[in-house]
Amino acid sequence: MIIFLSSWTSCSLPPEGPVWQYRRVPDTPDIADRRDAVCVVGAGASGLTAIKNLREQGFEVDCYERETSVGGAWNWRHDRSPVYAGTHLISSRPLTEFPDFPMPDTWPDYPDHRQVLSYLERYSAHFGLGDSVWFGTEVVSVAPVGDGRWDVTTQSTGGGSSRVQRYAGVVVANGHNWSPARPEIPGDFRGQVIHSAQYKDPAQLRGRKVLVIGGGNTGCDIAVEAAQQAGAVWHSTRRGYWYAPKYLFGRPADQVNDRMLQLRVPLRLRQWLYRRVLALTTGDLTRYGLPAPDHKPYESHPIVNSQLPYYLGHGRITPVPDVTGFDGASAVLADGRRIEPDLVITATGYRPSFEFLDPELLGTAEDGRPDLHLHAFARRHPTLAVVGLVQADFGLFPLAHWQSVAVARWLRLRVTDPERAAAVQQKESARPVASWSRRRVVPTTRHWFEVGHTDYLRAVEGLLREMETA
């Protein structure tokens, strides 16, 4: 037997071996060398655009997807999808579509999650990306083997034997909205507590007394849906936020904002205009009992919700402060008040998770925050990159597209012109973080990957140009 084991890499088994030994050979191969091919982890929006752009640069691509279809977070059939029935885009269509594959111009300004999924499915079919995807296959570990190459261990999602393959590069596109961040609230609670990831349908809210914890876009959305369905709604936020409407002056608000950026209106003036416009339209939210924002406009991830102020004004949503504990049937609030919800939904967001990677590879700090150049390139491993790990005042798809264009050209340059690649790397290491990362934000985990889209895209464009010039 041992003799057979050592010869499994070659296909010449001794002819006298029993039949079952022949059958076992393909199931337990040695490390299969995929040579110049690149491995992509995940076939959501970021993974799909990574496949497309890597193939455009001439790479062979193997993409591993744990689910059996594309679309990642936007595919409501997937276990880990955070999508609920009422999910709509919060950035408008032109700011959300892939720059080289526009959404149909007959679609609404803010498409819903079904349209977004069908868009991703069409993108995948249009460019034939499915050919490169191994569905129902999970990446178990990604480990460097020196000279920039990687051993990727995969396993069928249903279990079964694992398989190791060697790649010239790895692009991680596993998303960052699937591993729920659950707050630790002390005490026992008699009612039901769920994370917003488990909230799927407004029927879950009907006639109940609902407490929604979290002032992000999801929290506000669910509070609004609860206002339409539930018997009573409390919305708990730790601080005051700037709630931007979806429309301003008859146009999607993000398009108005970008017009100001186009006209190079300075930040101070934009902040002043923002306050004025909100004061003149939505009005002062503190009169409903919301705390005043503790930060200036543009210093937190934008929260876009036109309906929250509407339902506050109709008394359907009662704003409450932070929840400090549970006590039997009641939730104890920071101001000492007690309320008695029967359903608590924690819309407290998600944490990035890379359980198949050694934290050192992404320069991940103790608190779980990876340190990546342009939020994409591993600093110590030039053939390892992450796509889609950004948060912006903009759609994610275009940012993921340009990230993957940069990653693909970078990997190509390393092959065709290692000397210039080294020079580019040298130059990039001098690019100040403040030039592409938004620094003046409320210091919470929510803002780890926050960027301003114009600064960020200009930085990526700078890298693309460096890689071009001789």
């Binding site: 007959t106 249009h126 340009w402």
Partner: protein
């Protein structure tokens, strides 16, 4: 330098949607061949391709589509329409532009990673084309400079072999009001995704000067495929089958997965 990534115009002032006329022949299309999208030039519509080229492409197993440019649309709107239609097709499309439609295709390729591009009798250099038109057909061209209608002559669109009775209805149908930007536009962008590009034309074309044809081909790193004796309207002239057969042969050769 204008940013390729920061596209304020698209973000803040998206082109308005209109109903688009697309003529499609998809019967008998083979799954392994990319769809073709034909883009007509000034004064022409999808009809110009529906006549001969669409059926021939369909016979050879390609899903063939032709788009009529929107009425009164500027260059930006026309590029938008081409990219919209291309992205609506089930597979990555080959863009085929004729005349000023080739200019639209050249811009659309800067946006959309076409499977391949074909520029037939391309009007990519505005000024030389304008001079050539003024020389070949001064009375038909001059009014267009002052916002009037552009009238094309038989000598411009067709070779000498084209019978007059066949040319007349086409000339009557060609109605064009060229916009200033056909002449004043900047250099065309680099095609996204680096697709193979074929430039085809006629040395006897009275609209696109030979030198301009060579310049366009050089810009895309090749030499033009020439069809002597033909006029500007390669898809309607009597020997229309020669250019389309050559284009389809080129596609079969250039896109290996498409030929199997």
């Amino acid at each position: 330098m204008k940013s390729e990534l920061v596209r304020f115009e698209d973000w803040t002032d998206p082109v308005r949607a209109v109903e688009r006329e697309v003529v499609s022949l998809t019967d008998g299309a083979r799954g392994d061949r990319p769809p073709l999208l034909f883009v007509p030039g000034l004064g022409h519509g999808a009809w110009a391709f529906a006549e001969h080229w669409l059926p021939r492409a369909a016979e050879r197993g390609f899903a063939a589509h032709a788009l009529t440019p929107r009425a009164g649309g500027d260059l930006r709107a026309q590029v938008h329409d081409v990219v919209q239609v291309a992205a609506s097709l089930p597979r990555q499309a080959v863009l085929v532009g004729h005349g000023t439609g080739a200019l639209v295709v050249a811009y659309a390729m800067g946006r959309y990673p076409a499977r391949a591009g074909v520029l037939a009798a391309p009007v990519l250099d505005g000024w030389p084309t304008l001079w050539a038109a003024l020389r070949a057909n001064p009375f038909g061209t001059l009014p267009a400079l002052f916002g009037g209608r552009l009238r094309m002559s038989r000598e411009q669109l067709f070779g000498p072999a084209m019978p007059a009775e066949q040319a007349r209805p086409i000339l009557d149908r060609v109605a064009a009001k060229p916009g200033r930007e056909l002449v004043t536009h900047g250099p065309v962008p680099r095609p996204a995704g680096d697709p193979p590009v074929l430039v085809a034309g006629s040395p006897d074309d009275r609209v696109v000067p030979r030198a301009s044809l060579d310049r366009t081909a050089t810009r895309y790193g090749g030499a033009p495929l020439l069809f002597p004796g033909m006029g500007h309207d390669l898809m309607l002239d009597v020997t229309w089958s020669e250019p389309i057969e050559a284009v389809l042969d080129w596609l079969d050769k250039e896109l290996p997965s498409a030929g199997q």
